[in-house]
Symmetry: D4
Amino acid sequence: MRLTVYLAGEIHSDWRQELIEKVQAKGLDLDFVHPQLVHDRSDSVGEDIQGPQPNAYFRDLAASDVNNFRTEVLMQKADIVIALFGEKYRQWNTAMDLSAAITMGKPTIMIRPEEFIHPLKELSRKTNVTVATVDQAVEVLAYVYE
Amino acid sequence: MRLTVYLAGEIHSDWRQELIEKVQAKGLDLDFVHPQLVHDRSDSVGEDIQGPQPNAYFRDLAASDVNNFRTEVLMQKADIVIALFGEKYRQWNTAMDLSAAITMGKPTIMIRPEEFIHPLKELSRKTNVTVATVDQAVEVLAYVYE
Amino acid sequence: MRLTVYLAGEIHSDWRQELIEKVQAKGLDLDFVHPQLVHDRSDSVGEDIQGPQPNAYFRDLAASDVNNFRTEVLMQKADIVIALFGEKYRQWNTAMDLSAAITMGKPTIMIRPEEFIHPLKELSRKTNVTVATVDQAVEVLAYVYE
Amino acid sequence: MRLTVYLAGEIHSDWRQELIEKVQAKGLDLDFVHPQLVHDRSDSVGEDIQGPQPNAYFRDLAASDVNNFRTEVLMQKADIVIALFGEKYRQWNTAMDLSAAITMGKPTIMIRPEEFIHPLKELSRKTNVTVATVDQAVEVLAYVYE
Amino acid sequence: MRLTVYLAGEIHSDWRQELIEKVQAKGLDLDFVHPQLVHDRSDSVGEDIQGPQPNAYFRDLAASDVNNFRTEVLMQKADIVIALFGEKYRQWNTAMDLSAAITMGKPTIMIRPEEFIHPLKELSRKTNVTVATVDQAVEVLAYVYE
Amino acid sequence: MRLTVYLAGEIHSDWRQELIEKVQAKGLDLDFVHPQLVHDRSDSVGEDIQGPQPNAYFRDLAASDVNNFRTEVLMQKADIVIALFGEKYRQWNTAMDLSAAITMGKPTIMIRPEEFIHPLKELSRKTNVTVATVDQAVEVLAYVYE
Amino acid sequence: MRLTVYLAGEIHSDWRQELIEKVQAKGLDLDFVHPQLVHDRSDSVGEDIQGPQPNAYFRDLAASDVNNFRTEVLMQKADIVIALFGEKYRQWNTAMDLSAAITMGKPTIMIRPEEFIHPLKELSRKTNVTVATVDQAVEVLAYVYE
Amino acid sequence: MRLTVYLAGEIHSDWRQELIEKVQAKGLDLDFVHPQLVHDRSDSVGEDIQGPQPNAYFRDLAASDVNNFRTEVLMQKADIVIALFGEKYRQWNTAMDLSAAITMGKPTIMIRPEEFIHPLKELSRKTNVTVATVDQAVEVLAYVYE
């Protein structure tokens, strides 16, 4: 059974590549989709398509519409959503995507460092499984195929 | 990932062909569906199937049922809906299809000339992305695959 | 049984007042809600709340968000949606609201002049009842209580 | 028409009291519900009910279940959700609640200081109306009753 | 707890009045709604509102829209649907209403004479409770309040 | 685009075979599913699987459960539902299946002889397209692929 | 805010009365609904209404339909579902009701003795809050009103 | 038509293997998914992934999250759910899975020994078909393809 996994969260580290390689090493029948990973493109895509905006505020909003469109298309196709909270940035988008996935009834995995146990405690309890490392998330995925 | 796109809106210009060709030039993995494009057939299909109707009013209604059936079948299969507002006609069907798609939770793109910013402003804000040209819509679609 | 009716559509004539008075004359147990009826306020409400915007385009969008918020709140509370298409303006908002209501499964009535039979034929067939006058719409409402 | 508003977000300032007083001053027919506002009680409620837990991690999780229960009960009764992002803390719960409300189809208002425009840009575009102050949120609520 | 019951089915006998009186005698806290009970009005309501139609076929369709509107409004407000199959007529509307109610997740009771066990067997098994008499249906309703 | 069509209704004539052959002659990319077509098997399947039942009533109910299971599995996979009302029998199952399909939001076609216009008028108006012959239904299906 | 609570589970002890009294002592604005509490009536209600059945098997099924009808009516009206697992009987109905409530998105509380931690562990993790005593459940309810 | 079947219930006997072999002998086009069948792994998977937990209670909960994740992923892909109640253990998970499947609208089959007719009577009536043996369940599956 082929399943599609949406990888939400931090785009400043290479955790997606690490996770995908470990999944492939196990031979799991999974496809992966994710948000735009090039941060600059993610910020500029609104102006890239719509042309210059009046100021930084409207530049941001123009980019957001295109990013939201991409996320909505891909998340609707996903059977599983994994969200990773990294150690920097506010990462409200990660919380937004994970909460949307939970509310849509998607099975979910949260990856977060232990220092974030407290601020993420409510979201963690709404997620199916919360782990601290990419390796653990891969083990959870592998368990579906045992 | 193969996605299906419903192309709603104006049938008096060749914007669909233009969009499809530009998508193919980019090698995007997209299928396209759309309403009946031959206007006369779209207006006569009720009588073509049901036989002559008492007057123009009932001729219109007989055609509408078949057109609505086609739209409903194809839009339910679509992952994305794009709606283009042209410069002529009232185009209530375009607004109807786009609003139905938004309410069904489909990711959506609106293409409209700038002169229609004001009358389409509320619908525009409910749509994921609003652009002014077919080229821009193609760029939004391409962004999903980056 | 008390029911709530959302009155969508044209805000440049007094059809809502006429309809409400006729409903009251019949003693029907109905509440009415509707969009902002003062056109200027509807166009300026974004800047009224958010302050000056860079240009007319962004002024329009700021207003749209507040109008959409109001419509969404009130339409979700409505048991019935009536949409009137007047003889002027493009009225894409009317088609948007009626199509959204139909897709949400709300029972609906369309009021439109006969000259619009053709361009509204598909939307008309998705609506429960289509009539030409406010008096007829009142009769349809009254029928629920017979 | 009486409506219920859920006030999500920061519990370290008195913004809810300010908003409620301003709403009452305008005579709007609104009820308000919200999460537990006493931070210590919110953190200890799990142990208060379940007894001592093995460590801080399990103490957090026990509290989260009760907080999530409360939020779920009250948000399901709400017609409108307002979420305020304050200037401190990570506030993932605020993003979680707002995203859940949007996904459930609730009409929403976000209040955030301008310095958070960039990190909240995608969530902002999914929210019906985003404003910078409590006063502006009150104006949006008042608009529903005009 | 006050509940609303939609009484679908045959309009040529006085079973609704009988059922309502027996419910009142038991003091159950129930409201009742139902389709138009005057058969001639039910058939003529389209022409009564829309004016003369070209022929009997279109007369029927005009009436159906108004009847469907009424049914849709009232059934959406109902907590329980009871459908009675009488001994005459084809009663496809009764099967239509009951099947729609089941599919909408409404709790349902079917009343049918024993001679109809065979042709109604599949629909009977999708209904919560099937009985042969109005008295039995009243007992089922009363059980909710024990 | 490959679509699946559920063929509900009369099993005493060979209309399904006729429809499928005409669809194949047109080269339409359609799959067909349908209820059990062998009437005796449809009536005996409960006892065939569960063993002898106490009487005809319970024999009927045992069969109904298996028939309902089959219908539910196949109708959930269908993109389109066609229901034919023949000239004999009460055919409440046909009305039940068509009404369930409409309520589930499936695009629908009704085939019925003209003598049934009146008793089927309300159901007809909830169906997307109503026709009198199998040939007309094939034309409606073909229109989706034009 | 008045809320309705469905009390599922064991009917051989007086836990519902205990819970209701403790809730009243706290002055919480809650209504309670529940299944039939008289075990014999719950088992005989099918024959009480339908008359004698062929054997114990069919007697059971006739009763079940009426019990399911009652549960479905009342659970749909509930804002909160509490399920108590007692120390005797298999109590599959309790698991059935709690799982149905969770799947319907109702906020839920499970009460179970500690000896059942292991066999109820998966269901416990899908429930919002799991406690061991009625007193603890009352505290969870009270927390909603703090 | 290829269908996916989720096999819920007892993991201490080899009923799944028996059912799958009998289905293959009939050449039915079915895929099968199921929970983890190795009981020890099912109980230890939480600690296997998360590391040692403070005590048996938390060990159970850690395992439950991973088991629930697996069930949720696979059941959402299933077209049919079969649940078998064995003669030992409390099997609340079996009732939980079957009730969740019914509430999600999945077509369902229950297999249970006759001694459990009474305690499973309500759940049985909500299931599409209840049988006593694996052979009978295979016959029900085969009927879909006749």
